[in-house]
Symmetry: C2
């Protein structure tokens, strides 16, 4: 007996058509230098078709790579829709990478065309000599002024130094009547390549298939997940070059949720103003952004009343941040867990319906449960570990939007019999709730026992005078390794290691209490806003940190 089902391919083109045909009057609001502009899904879809025709006119064919270097804008969304749907591959390059890393990823992906925001053109021009595969730089400007400001200077350089052609984004859009129908594609064809901003070695490329992105998008609309629908207005503050803004642009488009794209300025003041004006129901960003919003709200009035939920991820979310948003704004922060390798969304920390003795807030401060689509196992040295909330091992996942290798770099040590080794260490509760205690590489092993840097950081962040905290392991003659707590305190606060130890004492095991403390002006961040422990360790190793040592 054979299935009688249609042979239907799950593609970005299908997502594009659905948003266009069923939700054509949903809107995209985009913030640019000329202010906020609004456009319907139907018109964005038409422009995406014109973009595809324009790229074809530049010589782009099936399988070719097109990079974007841009903020969250309407044009970036058009590229998200057009490039995969025409059979090419979108490389959402990360402009916050170091120039040499950025050049590495563009070369590694073999990009032929760069779509670059006007503000970033000079940075690209500077590395063009290292980018022999690049034939065209297309300048995206939110206004004619911004384009004039960016292009002439770049053009001058190009004539002098390089054969690469500069074009204007609006100029390459083909006339509507010349746009061809979208091609029929295989769902396993590549659609997007993202590079992990790995804290070790060169960036590694994850190539999402159409199928993976389609299923991730559908998964995000599940009520067991983010529950996005036409009734939402989605504000992705997380950049579209950071794991595809966590998949929100595709998911929102698929179900006709309005999109509010914040452009370049995502400081707390700008975000609070945008939220008050556009009244999104849903916003997403790393913890740093929400911390900033919290501190901003102590000085200025803030209206977050339109938000039904905030999605927060990219790093562990402190329970205190969740509590403060609940108390001050009545907005639930739901933390997400995942990584470029997992689509990126793999788990969400909604409180389960049966609380099993914990409070709703306690569950939400843990890592979360895997989404429908993602499978989980916990692995220790001796094989699979039980989900008893106690056994600690590495989290492994598999699923239709998880990677099984890396572009031109299979890295077999990252995989285990078809499962992805996430590098996250933790326990799993009997109800499937993950509780991550560390990245494998951040684990602190003191006298043979593990100390969770994540739990120490979360406990420190609960102190009213602590703005940020990062805990790293440093060599110790007696215990092999001990925690060093690096803390950013609130301006004007006067707090001692002794007081912080006292604060921690009721929250973590006594032998976890750090003896080493460093008060720093800021915690270094990676290009996507995560605490950069590699940089912190380097500062400590070079003697650049002032360390106070204290114990009872």
């Amino acid at each position: 007996m054979n299935s009688t089902m249609q042979n239907y391919q799950l593609t970005i083109g299908a997502i594009l058509r659905h948003g266009q045909m069923i939700y054509g009057d949903s809107t995209v609001v985009s913030v640019g230098s000329a202010g906020r502009q609004s456009i319907s899904f139907a018109d964005v879809a038409l422009r995406a078709k014109r973009l595809a025709a324009g790229l074809r006119a530049l010589g782009v064919g099936p399988g070719d790579r097109i990079a974007t270097l841009g903020f969250n804008t309407q044009a970036h969304l058009e590229a998200y829709l057009a490039v995969p749907s025409m059979g090419a591959v979108l490389h959402t390059a990360n402009p916050r990478l170091h120039a040499s890393e950025l050049a590495y990823t563009i070369q590694h992906a073999g990009d032929r065309v760069l779509l670059v925001d006007a503000e970033l053109v000079d940075a690209v021009t500077a590395i063009l000599p290292q980018l022999p595969t690049v034939e065209h730089v297309v300048v995206v400007a939110s206004s004619a002024n911004a384009e004039r400001a960016a292009v002439p200077q770049a053009l001058r350089r190009s004539v002098d130094e390089h054969a690469t052609q500069y074009r204007s984004y609006e100029d390459i859009l083909a006339p509507a009547h010349s746009a061809a129908p979208w091609p029929v594609l295989d769902e396993n064809a590549p659609a997007i390549i993202c590079y992990t901003s790995g804290t070790t070695g060169e960036p590694k490329g994850v190539v999402y298939s159409h199928r993976a992105l389609y299923l991730h998008s559908l998964g995000l609309t599940s009520a067991a997940s983010l529950g996005l629908s036409e009734r939402d207005r989605v504000l992705p503050i997380v950049p579209m070059f950071h794991a595809n803004a966590w998949g929100l642009p595709y998911a929102a488009w698929f179900v006709g949720a309005d999109l509010v794209l914040p452009g370049r300025d995502v400081r707390a003041s700008a975000m609070c103003e945008l939220i008050a004006a556009e009244r999104p129901t849903f916003a997403a960003a790393v913890p740093t952004v929400w911390n900033d919003v919290l501190h901003y709200s102590t000085q200025s009035p803030v209206d977050l009343s339109s938000l039904r939920m905030i999605l927060c991820g990219g790093a562990a979310v402190a329970g205190s941040l969740i509590d403060e948003f609940e108390a001050r704004f009545a907005v639930p922060i739901i933390q997400a867990w995942g990584m470029t390798e997992t689509g990126p969304l793999a788990a969400l920390a909604f409180a389960p319906k049966h609380l099993h003795g914990a409070t709703s807030q306690q569950w939400r401060a843990r890592t979360g449960r895997v989404l429908p689509g993602i499978e989980l196992r916990l692995v220790g040295d001796g094989g699979e570990l039980p989900w008893d909330g106690a056994a600690v091992g590495e989290i492994e996942v598999r699923g239709p939007w998880c990677t099984g290798s890396y572009h031109h770099d299979p890295l077999p040590e990252k995989f285990d019999d078809g499962w992805l080794r996430t590098g996250d260490i933790g326990a799993v509760h009997p109800n499937g709730f993950i509780q991550i205690t560390d990245r494998a590489k951040d684990v602190i092993k003191s006298g043979g026992e593990w100390i969770s840097s994540v739990e120490l950081e979360s406990a420190l962040m609960a102190h009213p005078d602590v703005v940020e905290a990062s805990v790293i392991g440093v060599p110790d003659p007696r215990w092999q390794e001990r925690p060093l707590a690096c803390v950013v305190t609130r301006a004007g606060a006067n707090i001692t290691p002794q007081a912080l130890r006292g604060f921690l004492a009721s929250r973590v095991a006594r032998w976890w209490l750090p003896e080493r403390w460093s008060f720093v002006a800021e915690i270094p961040k990676t290009s996507v806003g995560k605490l950069d422990k590699k940089a912190l360790r380097a500062r400590h190793a070079s003697g650049a940190l002032t360390v106070h040592t204290w114990s009872e």
Copy 2:
């Protein structure tokens, strides 16, 4: 460039594991002769594994067909989970079919084992001589008493007449320790076969792949669709032998929504009692059931306050039914459109966020918008028609859970270049909202123009004294065809054709007003509760209907 994604298969086994591991303490409530029983997902999953081992012990192997003949019960759910996950194919046979049709489907599917509810054993035994492929009849009883009552009589016959073995369901469940791990399956492997209760010709088999059912289930959890989640308690009144209870058992299991399975008695009194006691948040049934509930509520107090929505489909839903549920119970009835060939859910009639001049209720009384996953087009004699709310043609769909042929019966006339011809006739509004006016075979063509039987029925149902109405086309010497309205009136009502024509006059075009009227005790129904127009036409052709003719 190739995708780096994992090769992950979308299977019922993955749904089974997700519900078991992440939502193990969600519950299934099942109504049987011994009352209501509750069991956790974890325990159901364990029993499904024991069932699979038991079926293997009976000789069932990959690709073998296992039929169920049963109501909505825990055992039926166990078969839903176990049979596809073990690599066999579940045939959800329809006990309401005529015996010869039932025998036809069992033979056509080649079923080796029948899992039969105790109350239905005698019906199966009666047709066993026509079922040479059947080797085992497994009797499912909700209590030991019911089993004793059913089995001995059947066993007696079996010894006398037939080599088929009778077993007890509880007896074939293997011990837990002997259950083997679930096999790894291809997502395109067959999982379930359903026969359409077509109103013409022999039943036709639709074979769902694992992939189709997985995607349909995930799609049903989308907030753009039913939005099922752990926070729901789902009451499928629609039978599990009717297009898989519209996919609700799998979707609910996938996201940990509790299931309330009503068993055999689904009369209004029993359903209202069950809803009041178990407080489901979501219930699904054909319009007849909700009409019955409405009439029951005029005599008895009814508490539907737990329901966040009612899903209603299988036939067009009268706007008056939607209005009355809104007014009397404050419960939204959302109508679904689809068919066995489309998973079955293809569209839902939620009011769109932009009402475009119509009211929310007006949109909800139309057919609906396609779900994410389903693509739609409207086709007339000259090709594709515009979505302008006026052009009328046949609705065609495609998508990952739509069929592309029939089991052992490709029926190419049902397909159009990869699209399924649904046989439904209507228009599509510019926002993608479908408005079906008729089944192709029910269309009434009067003087060369179409009259919508569906709209006439809906308009008639709005009359307070009309309980049910069905309109068919009958030959007419002048207009070729004219509508005959068959009406069931409320007990004690005294209403004339003249009054009903007057009532219709403000609601439909003047030339649509029927001249022919027949007051009947009931409208014949198909095995899945739809208005059976074929039977009505036959009654009319044989002169069995009393027809009043009246015109101004």
